[in-house]
């Protein structure tokens, strides 16, 4: 379980995250959604220790994450736009990652399912965007981590590969892993997500189970529900003109 506790982060004078608290629960897929530039990637980077918060704490199973980064042995991460050294072969990338975690048990099922074995000798430079995405996802699942962080994992994947990845995510959920996924394809998140964390302008506008979100917005599907949240925000910001804001979901968060 990952607890994000009162995180603030500004780049220069621009505030990106403004007091975020959210819990990512084991055995559940949390979908991190929000408009472009709402701070999703920044939140992921803070959890990974790639950036450091200005205030607040991040806990992994109740322990503050250590600056030396040993906790990352328990996290599998697939970045949004993966790139590897151009002149390394696929096999060399895997060999290096495995050597970095000596003694870890490995699960090569995704590697095989994606057909990466056939590309073992191929230079990363020669891989298409979709293949690089497959490589990146396979790396994230390789060490059977307790926590999976997947930033736009299906972007650029063909439907078969995307399907394989989604069933792998479901299997990981059954095993009780903590999973964080971002995506702009809401229909896809609808299939996967148990919880929604909705970010906008650096604040958590909704945090909780999908069912609760649907109930509060009175919608039956995720897409209109998110749209309703966004509309609620607009009413909120127009509230200064004296109109009573009818944003019931806005500003809710689960401690």
């Amino acid at each position: 379980m990952i607890s994000v506790d009162g995180i603030r982060k500004a780049y220069g004078t621009r505030s990106v995250l403004d007091g975020i608290s959210v819990a990512l629960l084991p055995g559940r897929v949390t979908a991190l959604v929000g408009p472009n530039g709402s701070g999703k990637t920044t939140l992921i980077k803070l959890i990974l220790g790639l950036a450091r918060p200005d205030a607040g704490r991040i806990l992994l199973d109740g322990e503050p994450i250590d600056p030396e980064g040993r906790y990352r042995a328990r996290i599998g991460y697939a970045p949004q736009a993966p790139r590897f050294p151009d002149n390394l072969a696929v096999g060399e990338v895997f060999a290096m990652l495995r050597a970095l975690r000596p003694g870890a048990t490995v699960d090569e099922s995704l590697l095989g399912a994606f057909g990466l074995r056939a590309e073992w000798e191929t230079k990363v430079r020669a891989l298409s965007g979709g293949w690089r995405q497959k490589l990146s996802s396979a790396c994230a699942f390789l060490f059977m981590p307790d926590v999976l962080i997947l930033d736009e994992p299906t972007a650029g994947l063909d439907p078969i590969a995307a399907g394989l990845l989604k069933s792998e995510i479901r299997a990981a959920r059954e095993e009780g892993k903590t999973i964080l996924v971002t995506s702009h394809i809401l229909s896809e998140l609808e299939e996967l997500a148990d919880d929604i964390a909705f970010l906008s302008d650096g604040r958590l506008r909704f945090g909780g189970p999908v069912a609760t979100l649907l109930e509060e917005t009175g919608m039956r599907r995720l897409e209109p529900a998110i749209a309703a949240l966004l509309r609620g925000l607009r009413v909120d910001s127009g509230g200064a003109a004296g109109r009573p804001g009818n944003c019931t979901a806005g500003g809710r968060s689960r401690a």
Partner: protein, 263 residues
């Protein structure tokens, strides 16, 4: 194998197959070969090679180094998402850049000499210092390139800063020293000038090679001062120590920036 060595190995493996680095080595080899082929005495060859080294090594280390760091941004983020300390990732990345660069330099000037021996009786000591000086300059400017590329995320600005640094250290600095000499020509300038010279790694590398060479006329103003102040025995030692310091200081800066910054 420890994490630092793994990152280093990946970097060296990647760059060993890099075409630009191969081209750099070949250009140096062609220059060396041509100088030995056409060049008169060994001294002249070493001098020409020295001039080429002092211009090319900082340029390639700065521009290629900055380019490499920008191209590696996503890979750096991937490494930092692994259970590794930042310090290990930095050291692995830095050595993974500096070692292939220095290797290309040493192979470029060394291979032609290994293949058919040193012709024209070139002075061995000066050649050794040239190789050492070039390698240390590579270490210094590769670290400076990393410090620049880690400072700004804007690639264009980073490249401009790298080129600016090259201009400053190879041309601008000497121009400024000359201006000081002509402006304060009536004053005893020996000590301040020596200090100024030690303040530029390119000058230090030049003096390191020249003091070991019997070419007083080519030492220039600061070089002659240097030799008079320290003599031929301790002079090269001081130059070598200073150049080593110059190779370490930018690494310390780049490392601090790497440990502190957000990715």
């Amino acid at each position: 194998m420890n994490p630092l060595m793994l990152v280093l190995k990946a970097g060296v493996r990647d760059l060993a197959r890099n075409r630009w680095l191969l081209a750099y080595g070949i250009v140096l080899a062609v220059i060396t070969e041509a100088l030995f082929f056409f060049g008169g005495t060994g001294h002249q060859v070493v001098l020409s090679l020295l001039n080429a080294t002092l211009l090319l090594v900082p340029l390639v280390a700065l521009v290629f180094g900055a380019m490499h760091v920008y191209a590696s941004r996503e890979f750096i983020e991937l490494l930092l998402a692994q259970p590794l300390s930042r310090a290990a990732v930095f050291t692995g990345l830095y050595l993974g850049l500096a070692i292939p660069l220095a290797g290309a330099f040493l192979a470029g000037i060394g291979l032609p000499m290994l293949i058919h021996g040193i012709r024209g009786g070139a002075p061995m000591l000066a050649l050794t210092f040239l190789a050492l000086g070039g390698a240390l300059l590579t270490a210094a400017f590769a670290a400076l390139a990393m410090a620049i590329a880690l400072r700004t995320d804007d690639r264009l600005r980073g490249m401009a800063m790298a080129l600016g640094a090259w201009f400053l250290f190879t041309i601008g600095y000497d121009g400024a020293v000359l201006a000081v000499v002509s402006a304060f020509g009536d004053w005893p300038l020996e000590r301040p000038l020596l200090a100024l010279m030690l303040g530029n790694p390119v000058d230090v590398a030049r003096v390191l090679v020249l003091t070991s060479l019997d070419a007083s006329a080519l030492l220039g103003y600061t070089g002659a001062l240097f030799r008079r102040a320290f003599g031929t025995g301790i002079g090269p030692a001081i130059a070598l120590v200073t150049l080593t310091l110059w190779a370490v200081i930018p690494v310390v800066f780049a490392r601090r920036r790497f440990l502190r910054r957000d990715f």
